[in-house]
Amino acid sequence: MDSLRFLIVEDSPTMRQLISFSLKRFKGCKIVEAVDGVDALKKLQTEEVDMILTDINMPVMDGLKLVTLVKQNPKLRELPIVIITTEGAQEDRDRGLALGADAYISKPIQSSHLLKVITDLLEKKR
């Protein structure tokens, strides 16, 4: 699990720090941060990542639009995407997964749950 690269897309610095904190359990992992969908797409042009963790409600471009664009891009579509959001209703979850997200986590997050979801996705990808 060494040298993994994650892209965290979150407008909240608190959540970015909390998610980064949890991801440090993957020793040596590299974290790239983006504050919204547009920023994330820009970062994806220059940075190679193994997984995207994105919020939904963000200014400029929301997480659902980002998921759609990433899944439409032949170079990026294989990247696993985890949505981490306050939107916990079943229809929101269904919508996120239907757009191509690989997992959906409702806030507040449990670090152990987040790590399990990520580990499962990485194993599935191998």
């Binding site: 610095p13 608190t14 909390l18 306050t86 916990g88 806030k107 507040p108 670090s111 152990s112």
Partner: protein
């Protein structure tokens, strides 16, 4: 005549056959009796033979030892299983504790990361949304001149809501300000309606014993049924750290304003002096 002699011949043959069978059965019974006697003799010999009985006693003892060992192994196995369960439970608890500490660390770090009043308010709101999982909540600050509380920031309420001012000691919110003790109940079912004066949680923002305001939580996110252990820890943290952060950033903003005003005066005086 011929028929009679034929029948007689056949009956003689049948009788002879029956007699032969009778003899055979008697022979078998005799053999059975002989074997029984032999077995009884052998059995008697085995119990009376000291070597055989010694061997049997040894075997019996070994069986007992093995039984005892089996019981001991079963007991140890049960102990190990119980320990395993205990470790698994402890692991879950430690993971939970880790999670809680991470939440508290991040909340505390973010609260003290800026001296900008609006930014501090924004961070407090982020913590309440993302870490506690509140959907509808407000931050009220105490006005030292009027001695009542007014809403400073809010999230999730209807657009036309009118926030009342609350006096110290009045209702749930006023009592929290007066006593400095947090108040919380858990969300009651799906029919729950937001009533501003009756929040689910009211957390005092305290600097030592002085309450400078409160955080009212009126509704939790749909995926969150009730407050958890870490929420109560976060409430304690917010009570102290959010209060300090809000208070110090407000003082800093005020001092910045005053400094600008004084600087303006000084510039004015300097200019006037040069002209004079």
């Amino acid at each position: 005549m011929d028929d009679h002699s034929d029948l007689f011949k056949k009956s003689q043959e049948f009788l002879q056959m029956v007699n032969q069978q009778k003899d055979f059965i008697q022979d078998v019974l005799k053999e059975n009796e002989r074997l029984r006697f032999q077995i009884a003799g052998l059995q008697g010999k085995s119990t009376s033979d000291p070597l055989v009985s010694q061997e049997m006693a040894l075997l019996k003892k070994k069986v007992e030892q093995l039984e005892a060992q089996k019981a001991e192994i079963e007991r140890r196995f049960q102990n190990v299983e119980a320990e395993n369960k205990d470790f698994a439970q402890r692991y879950i608890e430690i993971e939970e504790q880790n999670n809680n500490l991470a939440n508290l660390y991040v909340a505390s770090y973010q609260l003290h990361s800026t001296l900008d009043f609006q930014e501090v308010l924004h961070i407090v709101m982020e913590i309440v949304i993302n870490l506690i999982g509140a959907e509808i909540f407000s931050i009220m600050l105490l006005d030292e001149k009027t001695n009542d509380l007014g809403v400073l920031a809010h999230e999730g309420y209807d657009e036309d809501v009118k926030f009342p001012r609350v006096h110290i000691g009045e209702g749930v919110i006023g009592s929290v300000v007066k006593t400095g003790e947090s108040y919380y109940i858990n969300q009651a079912g799906s029919g729950y309606k937001v009533d501003f004066l009756h929040p689910l949680a009211c957390i005092p923002l305290k600097i030592k014993e002085n309450v400078i305001g409160v955080i009212n939580i009126h509704k939790l996110l749909v995926q969150k049924d009730a407050f958890t252990a870490v929420d109560y820890e976060l409430f304690s943290l917010l009570a102290a750290h959010a209060a300090t952060a809000i208070f110090s950033s407000r003082l800093y903003s005020q001092s910045e304003r005053k400094l600008t005003t004084i600087q303006g005066f000084l510039d004015l005086l300097t200019t006037s002096g040069q002209r004079g």
